[in-house]
């Protein structure tokens, strides 16, 4: 047998949390088998629970030392269930504790397996603890280089994995939270919870790691079936996962957008199609539409039915299902050009990890039943350049001018940083997510028109389904949350803020002069202040004049008009 490597645990390693769990699950009589003697400092508190305390030490010298302190102790090989059982003598085992041990063991699974053998027959609880290897405190201390870290081998997920693989299921927990206080925290800008750096790190880390604030896991387990958590061999990941919500009410546009995907110049994508709260007939119709698709596309579509939640819920489900490096939201009434995926992929090749933003035009449509009885639509307008070609992060703080169809989110923002859509939002959920991603990952503007955002002139849409008050309330919620957090802003921000501040001061001065003129002061002489970064070239004025003339000449051939426009571009 491989020898068990065991070093003495530190004393006083949070026994109160372990005792709480022993009291909760261990019953009121019998022996507490304290493997590793982690609770030897609180024997009286164990006996006060009505339990006999028995420490188990791995070596003779430790055993002798404990006995010298008056602690009842036996020596045993932790990975030998029979030896452990014999230590208890004829007493029934009420609970087993493994406190301050897991972080020290090199063969933890063997010990956990032997303890399961010991406990399985009588469903004896096991209480364990382990330092959180991924606590914010620990990681910040590593960054600060303050050292003095205790051994830690487990994150929350790693602990879950080894316990379930060893045949244990969690029954209760009493985790110990971090206490970010003390001399080191007052001296270090990294550790101080008052510093922006610390706050930003914690914001990111708390999204990524559910147990970021836990310093020590203290958990009780009961014997269970062993679970194999080994991951299947990872299939090749597509570049893009396309998350598509549908309520099954727009078969016409759904067919169209799937057709646009069949025509993509780059087929390195998968589609997660999420029928949301559809009835049986709608589900069948969607299945039939998918079944009709050409095989290369059909094989890349996964239907994931969502029966719960609001409008935002399918996004979280879809993102969780996504396997791509990037994720895009493509609603069932959107339309994309043939280089939509290709453009995102080119963007990711030069700026991986950033939020990718191409450009969409807007087009009005209205619902209309087609001659085949299908709920179709009629296009009502040409393309409107509603959304600017360049991405202005600061403008997006007041209004979203990037519909989801022109965005591709790095999948890691969801899967690694744990950022979820806010399911309390039934409108603006995309804006909320976009801003959080933009302020964490940065944005790469691709300046290529790749999509058409459809605006319904008639028929139900989010504009008609949700009242104005709901939009306003959601807007307030999003802004309030953004405002309550520290953010990263890209290089160049200082210049933007300085220009805007200068502009505000100039406007204020101009306003003061106009007020003075209005009330009998000296007349204002200066020309109007142009907004920052918008110096207007003379050719724009020429173009305006030409356009005015052309509007008066409706019979001018469109090709001639196009040529004139080129001249003024």
């Amino acid at each position: 047998m491989t020898p068990i490597v065991y070093r003495k645990p530190p004393r006083n390693s949070g026994p109160a949390h372990a005792l709480e769990l022993i009291q909760q699950l261990g019953g009121a009589a019998g022996v507490l088998l304290d493997v590793g003697a982690g609770l030897s400092s609180v024997v009286e508190r164990v006996t006060a629970l009505g339990l006999r305390y028995l420490a188990i030490a791995a070596d003779a010298s430790s055993c002798a030392a404990l006995r010298a302190q008056g602690v009842e102790c036996a020596q045993a090989d932790f990975s030998d269930a029979r030896q452990l059982r014999e230590c208890a003598g004829g007493d029934s085992i009420a609970a087993v504790s493994l406190i301050g041990v897991l972080d020290q063991l090199s063969e933890d699974s063997e010990v956990l397996s032997s303890l399961r053998t010991l406990c399985a027959g009588a469903a004896i609880p096991l209480v364990v603890d382990a330092n959180n290897a991924l606590s914010s405190e620990r990681l910040l201390s590593l960054i600060a280089g303050t050292g003095g870290q205790r051994a830690a081998r487990y994150s929350a997920s790693a602990l879950d994995t080894i316990m379930s693989e060893s045949g244990w299921r969690e029954a209760a927990r009493s985790d110990q939270d971090s206490n970010p206080d003390g001399e080191a925290h007052r001296r270090s800008v990294v550790l101080s919870t008052h510093s922006l750096l610390n706050q930003f790190f914690r914001k990111i880390h708390q999204g990524a790691e559910e147990s970021a604030n836990v310093s020590r896991f203290v958990r009780a387990y009961l014997p269970a079936q062993r679970k194999s958590t080994s991951l299947p061999a990872e299939a090749a990941r597509p570049f893009l996962s396309i998350v598509m919500r549908t309520q099954g009410r727009r078969p016409g546009t759904l067919r169209d957008v799937l057709l646009a995907l069949a025509a993509q110049s780059c087929d390195d994508f998968e589609v997660v199609l999420l029928p949301h709260k559809v009835d049986a007939a709608q589900w069948t119709a969607i299945e039939e539409i998918v079944a009709e698709q050409p095989e290369p596309l059909r094989e890349r579509i996964r239907l994931v039915r969502v029966e719960h939640g609001g409008r935002t819920t399918p996004l979280n489900v879809g993102f969780a299902e996504s396997r791509g490096e990037y994720i895009s939201i493509l609603d069932d009434d959107d339309m994309v050009f043939c280089h939509w995926v290709e453009t995102f992929r080119k963007g990711a090749a030069v700026a991986a990890g950033t939020l990718l933003r191409a450009v969409a035009v807007e087009q009005e449509i209205e619902s209309r039943e087609w001659s085949n009885g299908v709920a179709g639509y009629r296009t009502m307008s040409g393309f409107k350049k509603t959304f600017p070609a360049d991405y202005d992060l600061y403008a997006h703080l007041t209004q979203n001018v990037s519909p989801p169809v022109c965005l591709a989110f790095p999948a890691a923002f969801f899967h690694e940083l744990g950022q979820r859509f806010d399911e309390a939002l039934n409108t603006c959920e995309d804006w909320d997510y976009e801003m959080r991603c933009a302020l964490t990952c940065g944005v790469t503007a691709l300046r290529e028109y790749t999509a058409i955002y459809r605006k319904w002139k008639t028929g139900a849409s989010s504009y008609t389904v949700h009242p104005l008050e709901e939009w306003q309330e959601n807007d307030r919620r999003i802004v309030s949350r953004l405002n309550g957090q520290p953010h990263l802003f890209p290089a160049g921000t200082v210049d933007v803020l300085r220009r805007q501040q200068a502009w505000i001061r100039a406007l204020e001065q101009q306003n003061a002069e106009l007020q003075a003129q209005l009330h009998g002061g000296a007349p204002a002489q200066r020309p109007p202040v142009p907004p920052p970064g918008t110096d207007r070239p003379v050719r724009y004025d020429v173009a305006d004049e030409i356009n005015r003339v052309m509007k008066r000449l409706p019979a001018v051939h469109p090709l001639l008009k196009a040529s004139l426009r080129k001249l003024t571009r």
């Binding site: 016409g252 067919r255 169209d256 057709l259 646009a260 069949a262 025509a263 110049s265 009709e292 698709q293 050409p294 095989e295 290369p296 339309m335 994309v336 050009f337 043939c338 280089h339 450009v359 035009v361 209309r368 087609w370 001659s371 085949n372 299908v374 179709g376 009629r378 296009t379 009502m380 307008s381 040409g382 393309f383 350049k385 070609a389 300046r447 290529e448 028109y449 058409i452 409706p554 019979a555 001018v556 051939h557 469109p558 090709l559 001639l560 008009k561 196009a562 040529s563 004139l564 426009r565 571009r569």
Partner: protein
């Protein structure tokens, strides 16, 4: 055949034909793959019997070898395709002459005239064939994505002033009755406008079918405008003059001529010179539609546009 009799009364045979010019194999394969899916669905629906695809290549060098075509035909036969024909023309005939040459050997009941990179919706053929079960319908046009053509159509009947041959279904009998496309007059653009107008003069309806969708890979410029290539600039200017002349609108010929002379690009002025030269050499077509029954010249377009 009488225009009162519908061209389709039961399952019909189909020929899909496209004229290639400098295309890439990838886009042609994508088009073939999707068209095969549409054929399979139409056959299952009982709309078509046999289906063949004919490609006429006007490129400077053949895009496909014989074995490459054999391999594709073999693969597509599993989805119901009867035959894949590939002809290298060894000359740039233009779309009108190219389609005429391809259709000259056609035996199928219906001809789907389309651009080579058209990606068909699975239900494209089923939907395109449906209006041909009505009397007088002589041409059915698919709805193009992502850039839909703005010309007007009747929302109830689908009637439209003309149909683009980016993707149009035409009974072979109509094609033969009209003598195909007027390739002597139109090389690349407006051959479809002319065909539709002649079909209407012959008493047929030209119908736009919104439920029949096909992707035509058009993109926007970085300024968000529709991309206009040099060929389109030249041939559409030439075709504008030709159409105006052919449909008995000398006033319109003069107007377009003036506009091109005074504001046209160099490319457009070259097109004007070609027209004037043909005019001087008396090589223009004889004017038709003297009563202006079908031809429309509206704001520089050939139909009223919806936007």
């Amino acid at each position: 055949m009488s225009t009162q009799q519908p061209f389709v009364t039961g399952p019909a045979s189909l020929r899909v034909q496209s004229v290639l010019y400098g295309n890439d194999k990838e886009s042609i394969d994508r088009a073939l793959e999707n068209m095969a899916g549409a054929i399979q669905l139409a056959q299952r629906a009982g709309a078509i019997t046999t289906a063949e695809i004919a490609l006429g290549d006007c490129s400077s060098a053949p895009l496909f070898t014989a074995s490459e075509i054999d391999a594709r035909e073999q693969s597509l036969r599993e989805q119901g395709l009867t035959r894949l024909e590939y002809r290298f023309f060894d000359a740039n005939l233009g779309s009108a002459a190219g389609h005429n040459r391809l259709s000259s050997t056609a035996q199928a009941d219906l001809l789907l005239i389309q651009n080579p990179d058209i990606v068909a919706a699975p239900n494209l053929l089923v939907e395109l064939i449906a209006p041909l079960r009505l009397p007088r319908v002589g041409q059915v046009e698919a709805r193009q994505l992502p850039v839909e053509h703005p010309k007007t159509y009747d929302v109830n009947t689908g009637d439209t002033p003309w149909a683009t041959t980016a993707c149009s279904l035409i009974p072979r009998a109509v094609m033969e009755q009209l003598g195909g496309f007027d390739h002597e007059t139109f090389f690349l653009y407006c051959d479809d406008v002319d065909f539709s107008w002649r079909a209407r003069l012959a008493g047929y309806r030209v119908v736009f079918q919104p439920s029949a969708a096909a992707v035509h890979d058009k993109r926007l410029t970085p300024q968000g405008e529709r991309m206009v290539g040099a060929a389109e600039e030249y041939y559409s200017a030439e075709a504008a003059l030709m159409l105006a002349h052919k449909y008995s609108r000398p006033d319109m010929v003069k107007r377009v001529q003036r506009q091109l002379e005074h504001g046209g690009s160099d490319t457009q002025k070259r097109a004007l010179q070609t027209f004037l030269k043909r005019q001087a050499e008396k090589r223009l077509p004889g004017p038709i539609d003297a009563a202006h029954r079908v031809a429309q010249f509206t704001d520089g377009y050939y139909a009223k546009h919806r936007w």
